[in-house]
Amino acid sequence: MKKRILAVILLLGMLTTLLAACGSKGANPEKRREANEIVIGIPQDFDSLDPDHMTAAGTKEVMFNVYEGLVKPTSDGNIVPAVASDVNVSSDGLTYTFTLRQGVKFHNGDTVDMQDVLFSLKRRMSEDDAAAHLAALDIIADVNGQGDTLTITLSEPSGEFLAYMMNVFIIPAEYEESAVSMGTGPFKVVSHTAQDSLVLERFDDYWGTAAKVAKVTCKIIEKADALVRGLQSGALDMVSHMTYAQTSQLKKESFHVEEGSMNLVQALYLNNSVKPFDDVRVRQALCYAIDKQGIIDLAFDGYGTPLGTSMFPSFAKYYDASLTDYYPHNEDKARELLKEAGYPNGFEMTITVPSNYQPHVDTAQVIVEQLKKVGVTATILPVEWNSWLSDVYGKSEFQSTITGLTSDNMTARKLLERFNTKAGNNFTKYNNSDYDELYAQAVSCTDDARQVELYQQMERNLTENAANVYIQDMADLVALRAGLEGLTFYPLYAVDLSTLYWG
C-alpha cells in the first residue's frame, strides 16, 4: 500500500516537472521588451476590419492606428490635416478645398492618389452599401478631384463638416472587404484570427512620425478577470477600461495605472413619452433623489466625473460645468415634487440595463437603493446587448435605461442631436419645441462662437427640463506594465499605439 502511494506521489512529481518544462517557455515580457513588441488585452472581438463597416467603439479605438482620413484628430481635440496636407474653407462655409499630401503610401506600398480619395469618399456617400453610408455627408452637393486638389461643395454650411471627414478613411480604390485591410496609418494589419487575436506591425513608410514599437498583438479575452490574470501572468502588457477593483489586484512595482476619462455621458435615460416620465416634475424628482457622487463613490470607488447634462468636460469649449449641480441631492424636494405630480406614495418603475456592461448594472443597483428612500420602487431588468439595441434604442420600448452615449467624431452635435424631435435615434422621445428650434439654428451656424452659445443653451434646456438623470463621465483606468510609457488619451475612442514605447 505504502509503495503504491509513493508511486503516485512520484508520478505526480514527474508530471509537474514535465508541465513546468513545457510551460515556462511561454510569453515573457522581458523577451517582448527586447524584441520591441507589446501585447494588449481587449474585451471584445473586432466587429469588422472594413473601416466603413466598423461600429463597435472597441474596434474603432484600435483601428485608429490603421486608417486615416484626409484629416485626423489630435489628443487635445483639434482636427489636423493627415492624408491631405492642407485644408481651406471658403468664407461662406460652403466650399472645402483639400490638397493631397505628397507621397502618402498605403500599407501595400502604393501611393495614394486622387482616385483612391474619390473612391473612399463616394463609398461613404453612396446608399448602395447600407452599412457604409454616412448620412452626415448628404449635404455634399458636388465633389471635384483635379490633380492633387479635391474640392467639395456643400448645399448648406455646416460647422462640423471636417469632423465628419475625419471618419472618411482613405482606402485603395476598388477595395473589397474580403481583401486584407489596407490603410495609411502608422500600423498595418498582419492577421486577424476571429475570437483570438489581431496582429499589427509598424508601417515603416508612414508619412508622419513613425511608431515606436515594432509589433502589437491584440489578444481577445472577454472575461474581465481573465484579463487581470493575463496581466499578472505576463501574457499582456496593457489593458484599457478597467475598474478600480481590477487594477488594485495588480502589484504596484510591476504595473502603473493611468487615469483618463471614457468620454461618455452615463445617465439614467428616461422615456419621456410614457407615464410617469412624461411629467417634468417626476423627472426632476428623480434628479433630486439620485445622488451622483454617491453612485461614483459606491460603485466606482470614487473614480468618475459627475455630469449634469449631455456633455462631458473633454469638450471644454461646449461644456457648461454650472449645470452639474443644478439638482443637488435632496430627498425632501424629491418627495415634494412627486406629491405635486400626483404620486404621494411613489410609483413602480423598471430600469432596463444591458447586462454585459457591468458598470451600468452596478449603477442601477445603487440607483434602486437611492430611489427606495423617496418611495419609488425600481426593478432592474437585465437584457442582452442586442435586445437592448433593438427594443430600447430602436423601438423605445422601455421606461428607463442606463447606458453611456459617446461622440465618435469629437463634435458636440453628436451628443445633442438625438434629443431633437425629428432625430431617428431620439430613443428617449424628448419632445421640446425650444430645443428643436435651437438645434435647427445650431447646425446651420457657421460662426463658431455663436454655435458654441447655441449648444450651451441646448445643454441648459436638457438640464432644466430634466430630460434624463445625468450621472457621470466614467473614468478610464488603463493598466500598463512597468516600463511601458507614452500613453496618450484622446477626447474620443482611440488608443494611440504609435506613442507607446518601452522606457
Binding site: 447600407a130 490574470r229 501572468s233 439595441l389 430602436g394
Partner: protein, 316 residues
C-alpha cells in the same frame, strides 16, 4: 444493419429538429444581425437596406429552407459578422474544443473509476460522511470559480502555464496541451464527482444482490467478487453515464474557454448568438446535436459488446 439505419435516421431527425428550433428562436428573440452590425449609429433607412442586402427581409420559412438546402449541398454559408465562410471559421475552433473535451474525458475516466472503487471501501466507515461531503462540494463548485482558482495557483503562482496566452494547437502543441490540461481539470471536477457517486451507488446496489452473497458464502473474498463480478455488472451503467458526460462536456466548455482564454467553439457560439450571426450559430448547434447523438450511440454500441443480453434483445 437495421440498428445502424435506425441510428442514422434518428441522427438526421434530431439535427433537423434542432436546426429548426434554433432558427425559430432567432426569429422570436428581439434584435437581428443588421442591428448588431450598425449599432447605435443606425438609421431606419440603413437598417432596411442592410436587411435587404443580407436577405433578412425574406419570410422565415424561405430563409430556413434556403439555409437547409445550402447545408445539404455542403454550403454552410458565410458568417455575417466575419464575412468569412462558416466552415473556415468553425474548423480551427472545433479542433480546439475537441482536444479540450478529449483531454477532459481521459481525465474523467482515468480518475473517477479508480476513485469510485476506492471510495466503496469507505462505505460504513467512520469518515464516510467526510468523503460524501467532499464529493458534494466537488459537484457543486462552479467551473468559473475553480477556473479562477486554478489559473491563479498553477498559472500565476507556480507558472506552469500562462493564463491569457493560449499558443494555438499548431504553433506549439506541447504548451497548448498543458494549457488545455488545466482547463480540462476545471471542467472535470464536477463531472468526476458525479461519476464517482453514480458508480459507487451502482456498486453498492450490486453488492446487495443474491449472486454476490452466494459467491461470498462459497468462500470467495470480497475483493475478488468486486473485481471479478460486480464491476463487470456495473460497467454498462457507467458507460451510459460516460456517454452523457461526453455530450455534456461540450456544453461545459463554454465557460471554461472564456475563463482560460481558449479560442474554442463555445466562445464562438456565445459571441455569435449575441451578434445574431445565425449562419454560424446554426452550424455550431447542428455540430453539437451530432456530437450528442454520436456519444449516445457510441455508449450503446460499447454496452452491446460488454453485455450480450443487450444484443440478444435486438433493436429494442
Amino acid at each position: 444493419m437495421k440498428y445502424a439505419l435506425k441510428r442514422i435516421l434518428m441522427l438526421l431527425v434530431t439535427m433537423l429538429i434542432v436546426s429548426f428550433l434554433t432558427f425559430a428562436a432567432f426569429a422570436l428573440i428581439s434584435g437581428d444581425p443588421a442591428e448588431a452590425m450598425l449599432g447605435t449609429e443606425a438609421t431606419p433607412e440603413q437598417l432596411a437596406a442592410l436587411r435587404h442586402e443580407l436577405g433578412l427581409d425574406r419570410p422565415f420559412l424561405t430563409r430556413y429552407i434556403a439555409w437547409l438546402a445550402g447545408f445539404f449541398t455542403g454550403d454552410l454559408g458565410t458568417s455575417i459578422r466575419y464575412r468569412q465562410p462558416v466552415w473556415e471559421l468553425i474548423a480551427p475552433k472545433l479542433e480546439v474544443t475537441l482536444c479540450l473535451c478529449l483531454v477532459s474525458f481521459v481525465i474523467i475516466t482515468a480518475v473517477s473509476i479508480p476513485l469510485a472503487i476506492w471510495s466503496y471501501r469507505w462505505v460504513g466507515g467512520a469518515f464516510d460522511w467526510l468523503r460524501t461531503a467532499f464529493n458534494q462540494l466537488c459537484m457543486a463548485v462552479p467551473p468559473f470559480f475553480t477556473g479562477i482558482l486554478i489559473s491563479w495557483l498553477f498559472g500565476i503562482l507556480l507558472r506552469l502555464f500562462v493564463p491569457g496566452d493560449f499558443p494555438g494547437l499548431h504553433a506549439n502543441f506541447g504548451r497548448a496541451l498543458v494549457h488545455l490540461f488545466f482547463a480540462a481539470v476545471c471542467l472535470c471536477i464536477p463531472r468526476c464527482a458525479m461519476t464517482v457517486r453514480m458508480m459507487r451507488s451502482t456498486v453498492i446496489g450490486e453488492m446487495q444482490k443474491a449472486y454476490v452473497r452466494t459467491a461470498i458464502s462459497r468462500g470467495n473474498d470480497r475483493r475478488a467478487v468486486l473485481t471479478r463480478h460486480v464491476l463487470k455488472n456495473s460497467l454498462t451503467a457507467t458507460v451510459t453515464f460516460l456517454g452523457q458526460t461526453m455530450a455534456e462536456l461540450v456544453g461545459g466548455s463554454v465557460v471554461v474557454e472564456q475563463v482560460f482564454g481558449i479560442p474554442g467553439l463555445g466562445r464562438l457560439l456565445v459571441a455569435s448568438i449575441s451578434t445574431r450571426d445565425y449562419p454560424v450559430v446554426q452550424t455550431v448547434v447542428v455540430i453539437l446535436a451530432f456530437w450528442v447523438v454520436l456519444a449516445g450511440t457510441l455508449a450503446d454500441l460499447i454496452n452491446q459488446r460488454i453485455d450480450p443480453r443487450l444484443r440478444l434483445g435486438g433493436d429494442a
